[in-house]
Symmetry: C2
Subunit: 396 residues, 2 copies
């Protein structure tokens, strides 16, 4: 460990996100043998371009005076943008949110980090449902808290009894992520209602509110018309963290929000704490031009047709070969059983077939891999012989 | 204190930055009595539009495929953008930085927060030269450290002997900000060389590197051709935090960088720690479209003519009335003596004349006010009777 800097930060910087490490390997490998020879399923980078309206909105806002277009907005975001988002949510979910319920952030990562720090005290516990997005643990630990793992059931749904059994006096929040990264599961209303009930009972017992933090960047990416229940209507003590990265295909622009719903009894306090946490995290305001673009695109439908076609080709191809997986209902990930208990080794062996798939250990579970099918349709189709060869190797 | 959230975050959220509170009052007051009747010198929001090339660059990059334009970049930023910035610095300062020395951030606030957390351990001390940007203290405390204040001398220059006397075994960094916000002072080479010498000696004595963290958003905003020395060439253990907010008038777009120079002995470790700190702070990458815009505008000259004209009108007008102030050499702030020891009361009495000026207490010093002259020239000219009336009230 170097004495020249903070050890923990150094470690986190050197390790990087393991997903990004695999992605970096893929970039290198593509340069060596050709992009079409590498089947890179590592990242969650949308493969569908942003809607045409995004470009149109950028051209539109360019007519505004520079000082207004590129100037600071209020820390929680421009009032007009927050009003547009609130109105859109109210139309969709029958709610009555105001601009004051919204704090715009640089994407869901910033939204989650600020939301966690807003509600926890050092020493608190936050429950994550495994498998989960790997950075949750890091943000929870950076806030001086403990991340407590509750394993999902066989369908990758929250196991409410298990969650309830892990609640202690120090439990401050449960993070839910539906549609789920990495499994593609969508949590049904009934399961969320049971979870809400358990959290209400536990909050009363310990004498302190247990928050749900809903990480929802994939809210619009669902298939077969499945319902994504609006969680604050089921459990009022829900903080929603959203990003336009996936729905508008703007991951690099870093734009999203924290919603602290007006139906949460302590929403004013929690909202202020989110803003305070944002200050300590070095946030000033979300990027101003993109705020205005989002304001104009807030009701643009998400184009999921390409992801749906990929999903069909992938599941059909893999099941024909004999792989087992969780049927994905949303997001653009397939959660597939590894062909040996050690998913890391399985992922390494897949690499030899130019298949880049992320081992489940990084998501807090063993024995699976995540296949991100936000790729070209050709990548799916052309990768099938490689998946077949990998399978044959194990079955030989 | 609410038990519904983290007390400290709540406090920070409710308090907001005092500068922004004064600004919000101004917005309200302008709505009441008309914008031209309120002389709002509260903010550091550039009053000069972004260079025409910014608009041109946005139109140019809009021709790129959406997935590339709006996609994730590598966490430290796009390689091409970092290369352009490195090349520009190398041309200007005779250095040989590489893209790997640069970590792009959402402005200087994010750069400072990540840089502080990269080098400190909890319990460390960071020296700030008062008067200073108020958020320094908050970021230092949020990292579990103590902010130690060293008062500037009468010319608002660093008092090297005083800084040296405050160094302990736990001192990890000194933050310097030149051209300075709030005083407009520019630190001359000789003073920085003496500071470097003191830090070298102290680092050797305590057996640990003391870093300079150079906060430089105003680097290009200087008058009368005064030199802004390149600090890493004077003290290699300098981390530079930069923002394009002022030089390109893009404050709302949140784009800047951390430079960890290759001349710093431990630059690889410190750079990794900056990246690790960025992860814990919820940063993913700097906004992608604006990265590409900066890449194309990296050598655009900063238009300081309007600020220079404002400075001349303001200093001439105020000195005629009889006010005392520090002659500003850079940035767009005038540091003026309050007419009574209590600067907060002075600022309140100024409000009655529709003059919005920030009391120095917020910057860690008593008895002064900050006048941000990044306003229209008319605001300066038209505010003079109000400054006269305020003066007369005190002299009556």
């Amino acid at each position: 460990m170097p004495s020249s800097c903070n050890d923990k930060m150094y470690e986190l910087g050197v390790a990087g996100s393991s997903i990004r490490v695999l992605f970096a390997y893929g970039q290198q490998r593509k340069a060596q043998i050709g992009a079409d020879k590498v089947y890179d399923f590592s990242l969650g980078n949308p493969s569908v371009p942003a809607p045409a309206k995004v470009r149109q909105a950028i051209l539109e806002v360019l007519d505004e005076p520079s000082l207004q277009l590129h100037g600071y907005t209020a820390s929680p975001g421009a009032a007009s943008t927050r009003a547009a988002i609130a109105a859109s949510l109210n139309r969709r979910f029958g709610t009555s949110y105001q601009p004051d319920n919204l704090y715009l952030t640089m994407g869901a990562a910033a939204a989650l980090d600020a939301s966690i720090r807003a509600v926890v005290d050092p020493g608190d516990e936050v429950i994550c449902i495994a498998p989960f997005f790997p950075e949750y643990q890091m943000w929870i630990e950076a806030a001086g808290c403990t991340s407590v793992r509750s394993m999902a059931d066989a369908d990758m749904q929250p196991d409410v009894d298990d969650i309830a059994s892990r609640i202690t006096e120090r439990t401050r929040a449960v993070i839910v992520d539906s549609p789920n990264n990495p499994t593609g599961a969508v949590y049904p209303r009934e399961r969320l209602e049971r979870l809400a009930e358990a959290l209400r009972a536990a909050s009363e017992r310990i004498g302190r509110t247990i928050y749900l933090i809903a990480d929802e960047p994939y809210r619009e990416v669902v298939y077969d018309g499945i319902e994504v229940p609006w969680i604050p209507s089921i459990y009022p003590d829900t903080i929603v963290c959203y990003s336009y990265s996936k729905s508008l295909s703007l991951p690099g622009e870093r734009i999203g929000y924290v919603l602290v719903p007006d139906t949460m009894p302590a929403w004013r306090e929690v909202f202020a704490a989110v803003a305070g946490a944002g200050r300590t995290l070095g946030y000033v305001c979300a990027p101003s031009l993109i705020q205005q673009v989002v304001e104009r695109c807030v009701d643009e439908p998400t184009d999921v047709a390409a992801y749906a076609a990929n999903r069909a080709a992938l599941t059909e191809g893999l099941s024909k070969i004999g792989y087992e997986y969780v049927e994905p209902q949303g997001a653009f990930y397939l959660w597939m059983k590894a062909l040996e208990p050690d998913a890391k080794r399985f992922s390494e062996r897949a690499k030899a077939h130019e298949l880049l798939i992320v081992p489940s250990d990084d998501f807090g579970m063993t024995g699976y891999v995540r296949i991100g099918y936000c790729v070209s349709h050709d990548t799916i189709v052309n990768s099938m012989p490689a998946f077949q060869a990998l399978y044959d190797e194990y079955r030989a």
